[in-house]
Symmetry: C2
Subunit: 291 residues, 2 copies
C-alpha cells in the first residue's frame, strides 16, 4: 500500500487519479487527519499503516503564484525545506522507500555548453547563487536536506500542464494572462509526470534525482502558436518587451526559466513524450471546465 502526503493538491490529485486507475492501493492522508510535519505523528502513521512506499507531494506553493511566497517565507521554508528532511528521517528509520516531488525551478537558462541541465549539474537558481525567488531557494534547500538520502527518489517537475483548464495549468495561464513573457522552458505533462514517478518505484530503477520533464523544450511564443492553431484561432497574445518590463510590471520575484535534460529518466526505459506532441494532444483534448 502507498501512502500519499499532500494528495489534495494539484499534483497530488493527479497521483490519486493515476493510482486508482492502476488499481494500486493507497491512502491519502491529510494534515487535518495527521500532522505529518511532526516527526512523531508521521512515525506513528507509518507504524499504523505499514505502507510499502511513500509519495510526498506536499509542499508550499504561493497562491495565485510564486510571488506570494515572498510574503509567507516561514511557511514556504517549512513546507519545502524542512518537511522533506522530516520525511527522510522517518522513512530511513523504517528503511522504507519514498519519493519526493521536487522542482526544476532551481535552475535558470541552459548549461554553458548549450545543453539542458542534468541531474549532475549544481542548481543555479538558488539562495547560493543569489538570483532566485524565495520559493526556488526553499525548493533547493529541500534538495540540500535530502543530500545522501537512502531509498529516496527526487522527482523534478517543471511547469505542469494537461488538457484540463485549471489555475495551475500552464496552458490555462498562457490563455488567461494579459501579457506573456517570452522564455524557453522544459515542462511536464501532469499525467505523464505522475506515471513516470510511480514507474521509477514500480520498475525499481536506481534511487536518486530524476528530471521528469517531457523531452525537449518550448518557447512561450511556440506554445502561444500551438494554442492558436489547435484551440483558439482568434486569440491575440501580447508579450512583455523583455524580462525587465515583466519584473517591473507584473512580478515581485524572478521566475525560473530553464531547459532540462531528461535523458537519465529515458535511460531507465521509462517513456515520456516529446513536449510538442504532449502539448498538441492536450490542446486537442482541451476541457474548459475544471476537473
Amino acid at each position: 500500500m502507498y501512502l500519499l502526503l499532500g494528495g489534495t493538491g494539484y499534483v497530488g490529485t493527479a497521483f490519486q487519479k493515476y493510482l486508482k486507475e492502476q488499481s494500486i492501493p493507497f491512502r491519502n492522508v491529510s494534515r487535518a487527519e495527521c500532522d505529518y510535519t511532526d516527526k512523531d505523528q508521521l512515525d506513528q502513521l507509518i507504524k499504523d499503516l505499514k505502507p510499502s512506499f511513500l509519495i510526498n507531494c506536499a509542499g508550499y506553493t504561493g497562491k495565485p503564484n510564486v510571488d506570494a511566497c515572498e510574503l509567507h517565507r516561514a511557511e514556504c521554508l517549512a513546507g519545502n525545506g524542512v518537511l522533506p528532511g522530516t520525511i527522510r528521517e522517518v522513512c530511513e528509520s523504517h528503511q522504507m522507500p519514498w519519493g519526493h516531488v521536487s522542482s526544476g525551478c532551481i535552475y535558470t537558462g541552459r548549461r554553458e555548453d548549450g545543453g539542458g541541465f542534468t541531474e549532475e549539474d549544481t542548481p543555479n537558481f538558488t539562495f547560493r547563487t543569489n538570483n532566485c525567488s524565495f520559493y526556488s531557494g526553499c525548493k533547493a534547500l529541500g534538495e540540500d536536506v535530502l543530500e545522501g538520502a537512502e531509498r529516496c527518489y527526487i522527482w523534478r517537475l517543471r511547469i505542469p500542464f494537461n488538457h484540463q483548464n485549471s489555475p495551475r495549468n500552464y496552458l490555462s495561464k498562457l490563455i488567461n494572462y494579459e501579457t506573456l513573457l517570452e522564455a524557453e522552458n522544459s515542462i511536464s505533462h501532469l499525467e505523464e509526470f505522475v506515471r513516470c514517478c510511480t514507474e521509477t518505484h514500480a520498475k525499481q530503477v536506481p534511487y536518486g534525482i530524476y528530471n521528469v520533464t517531457n523531452t525537449g523544450h518550448v518557447t512561450t511564443q511556440e506554445v502561444a502558436g500551438l494554442i492558436k492553431t489547435h484551440l483558439l484561432p482568434d486569440k491575440a497574445f501580447q508579450f512583455f518587451s523583455d524580462e525587465d518590463e515583466f519584473m517591473k510590471l507584473a512580478a515581485k520575484t524572478p521566475r525560473s526559466n530553464c531547459v532540462m535534460d531528461n535523458s537519465k529518466l529515458l535511460s531507465t526505459g521509462i517513456e515520456i513524450r516529446e513536449v510538442h506532441e504532449a502539448l498538441i494532444q492536450s490542446l486537442r483534448d482541451w476541457m474548459s471546465d475544471e476537473g
Copy 2:
C-alpha cells in the same frame, strides 16, 4: 509577565537567572509542555498566559559545535529559519512585542571601510553569499523571515562568554581546544547580553535589529594572552598555521569570524563594557565547575 521560549538552553538559562534577579515575573515554557513550533499551540499558550513580552531563545545549535548542523539540516532550518516566522505571525496577531535571539555569525570579516558591521550592512556570510555554514545560512534566513516584523527586537549575539566554565563558553573552548585558529572577533558577555536585550524592551527603545556585542573586538591571540595573564600562567597555546589548515584538520564547515559595530545599541543609552574589560573580569572571577 514575560514568556520565555527555549529557556533551558545556554542563553535561555542566563535569561532565566537575570529575570529572577530583577524580579521580573516570567514563565519558561518547554516544548514538552507546549509545542510552540506549532502555530495553534503557541497561539493558545499566549491566550492562556497573556504575557506582555515574549523572548525567543529557542534555536538549533549543533552539538558539540556548528559542524553538526551540516548533518541535521532539517532541524537546523526548522529551529532557526521557520520558528522565528511562526512566532512572528502569532505575536503580530496578538499585537504583542517580542524579541528574538539572532546571531552575528551571518557576517565574516570587516566592512570594506575597515569598520565593524552595522545593522544596516547586508549579511555577507549567508546562503546568498555562498560561503557559509548551514547554521549561518539558516540564521540569516531567520532574519529574512523577520523582515518588516512589527513590535520585534532582533538581538544579535556573538560567541558568548562569561566566568563559568561550560562547553558553550568561548573561554572554556579556548582553554580546552588542542589547537586554536587566529581570528578577529566581536564577542558577547553572556550576562551583559541578556541584560541589554531585556533593557531594549524595558526602556522601550525602537524595535529593530541590535548588535549586542561588547564594544571593540579581540583576536584569538589576545584572548589566549589574557587567559595566561589572569588564569593559567603555564598554559601553552597552539595555533593552526592558517584557516586552510584549520578547515583541513579540524572543521567540516567554515566559521564566521567578524567585527561588529555596537554603536546603535550604545546610542539608546544601554551600556555594555569594552570587550577586554569584560574578558579580564570573567577570568578573575573564573569558576571551573559548571553552573
